[in-house]
């Protein structure tokens, strides 16, 4: 009897998760429906107009899709030259040493900092530097947001890649050394190729994080509604435009914001799924 009750409880608890997920999707779809119906699904995604003048309302997601892609890819570009050496440091060169342990702890610490703190740091420390260097007038923009995003995803990407670098069998490395290879050659020609798919999937998951990061980007991207002309321009990402405007929006504009949210949700879910599947495969082989 007791056992039955217990199982029943577990069953209900387990049921809550898919129900909530389904509920979120349902709400997103129904609320986004108005915008998709009004503008057309495809036109909504490809239109770059975002104006809320009464009577001539026009909403298109392209500037924010572009903003998201630009910040994410740029963050990745900035992240790789740091996270890869850190991963090599922790996973290969200084593996199992005190230094690597300390570095690992610091990395974990960085990963645990709330994004608002990164946002503040970016706003009050990095932005003035960007202005002082005359890179952009206002200091905020795609570049500033990407730099801070890069710092935010570096711990994640590097600790995950380090795990795959550590997993390269010692047999293989010793085999390569026994043929007269140097450490650098072993890293380049054995460790990287063997850990490659795992490292790649680490970056896919890192992209998944960057895509949806809201607070930091909202604070740093400049919040303008046109397609950014260059990396120093201001813009908005899909997440930041929602965060910025949902409070004052209603009706069609609100529906359009939610439609952007739905698209973001789908992209992020897809990227995360692909990343997870790849990680699993890399772990098995």
């Amino acid at each position: 009897m007791n056992d039955k009750l217990y199982r029943g409880f577990l069953f209900i608890a387990a049921l809550v998760v898919p129900v909530v997920c389904g509920g979120v999707v349902y709400a997103l779809v129904t609320d986004a429906y108005e915008a998709f119906e009004y503008f057309g699904f495809f036109r909504f995604l490809t239109s770059s107009e975002w104006s809320y003048t009464d009577g001539a309302e026009q909403y298109g997601a392209l500037p924010f899709i572009t903003g998201t892609l630009m910040t994410t890819l740029l963050a990745l570009v900035f992240c790789i030259p740091f996270s890869l050496p850190v991963a090599l440091f922790v996973g290969e060169y200084f593996r199992d040493t005190q230094v690597a342990a300390v570095l690992g702890t610091v990395t974990d610490l960085l990963a645990g900092i709330p994004s608002i703190i990164y946002g503040l740091w970016g706003f009050y420390t990095l932005r003035p530097v960007i202005m002082a260097l005359d890179i952009s007038e206002q200091g905020s923009g795609i570049l500033t947001a990407s730099l801070v995003l890069a710092i935010m995803i570096t711990p994640y990407a590097s600790s995950l890649s380090a795990e795959f670098i550590k997993m390269v069998p010692n047999d293989l490395k010793e085999g390569a050394y026994s043929l007269g290879a140097t450490h650098a050659e072993v890293v380049r020609k054995v460790v990287f190729p063997v850990a490659g798919s795992g490292i790649f999937s680490s970056y896919v998951l890192a992209i998944g994080r960057a895509l949806g990061e809201t607070m930091t980007v909202t604070m740093l991207i400049g919040n303008t509604n046109n397609i950014p002309e260059s990396i120093t321009s201001t813009g908005n990402s899909m997440a930041s435009v929602i965060a910025n405007q949902f409070g004052e929006a209603s009706d069609l504009r609100l529906s359009s914001l939610i439609a952007i949210g739905l698209v973001l949700f789908l992209i992020t879910a897809l990227i995360n799924m692909v990343g997870k599947i790849m990680i699993k495969r890399a772990r098995i082989s």
């Binding site: 293989l172 085999g175 390569a176 026994s178 007269g180 050659e185 072993v186 063997v194």
Partner: protein, 255 residues
């Protein structure tokens, strides 16, 4: 008659993993060119440790100390660059481990690629064929050279690893229980192969299989607790061991 100059000579070689203990203690032995020497002894007696000293594998781990001298063609390898030593002294490990990201073809050539040595297409083809033939793998794989080395059976993988080592034309080939992960047929294959290879290269092989030692080696070492207890002709050692410990081991009363 002038004695033959040994190709490899251990002179009071000691190896320690920790400060307190020595895994190999003052081993002295001269290995003649083009022989197969079997290294035997109970588990943990230091066979692998001694073998790995001969191609400076221990240099990869900063805590391991190697003392004494190890002469290769009269030159002390402990004073040489590990890379130079390892190209002359190849190694085959217990578990076959072809590089999983490389094809069979590229695995054979991996010694060159790893060292940044580029060969012409015809040199590459010739090397691959020569090495795969000398490990009797050519006929089995010549049509699938572009497949990954990891698709092969365990015995084939091990022969591929031997081919990979031979490609560098080493003077000495160190083999640490190369057949212990293989079935009897694959083992027989590799034993046969070693007899052939003996013409080109001097082989040191660690084995737990006394039958194998008897079949293939002309010289044998017996190690116990890090010491080289006995070293001599294999036939003599098996028929008339001079040390009680060797006798006990060979008759199955130890280890």
């Amino acid at each position: 008659m002038e004695p033959v100059k040994p190709i490899l000579e251990f002179k009071k070689t000691c190896v320690s993993y920790t400060r307190q203990t020595m895994a190999v203690k003052y081993v002295s032995a001269a290995i003649e060119r083009n022989t197969i020497t079997a290294i035997m002894g109970p588990s943990g007696c230091g066979k692998s440790t001694l073998l790995r000293a001969a191609n400076l594998m221990h240099n990869l781990y900063p805590n391991i100390r190697v003392d004494g001298e190890i002469l290769l063609n009269g030159e002390n390898i402990l004073a040489m660059q590990p890379i130079d030593v390892r190209r002359k002294v190849g190694m085959v490990f217990q578990r076959p481990a072809p590089f999983p990201t490389m094809s069979i073809y590229d695995n054979v050539l991996s010694g060159f690629t790893l060292n940044g040595i580029s060969l012409s297409k015809s040199e590459r083809d010739a090397t691959v064929e020569r090495c795969l033939r000398s490990v009797a793998l050519w006929d089995e794989v010549k049509d699938v050279l572009n497949k990954k080395g990891t698709f092969l059976s365990g015995g084939q993988q091990q022969r591929l690893c031997i081919a990979r080592a031979l490609a560098m034309k080493p003077d000495v080939l160190l083999m640490d229980e190369p057949t212990s992960a293989l079935d009897p047929i694959a083992t027989a294959h590799i034993e046969e192969l070693m007899q052939e290879l003996q013409k080109e290269v001097t082989i040191l092989i660690v084995t737990h299989n006394m039958g194998q030692a008897m079949r293939i080696s002309s010289k044998s070492m017996f190690m116990y607790l890090g010491e080289l207890v006995e070293y001599g002709d294999t036939a003599t050692m098996f028929s008339n061991p001079s040390d009680e410990r060797t006798k006990a081991y060979l008759t199955g009363k130890m280890g």
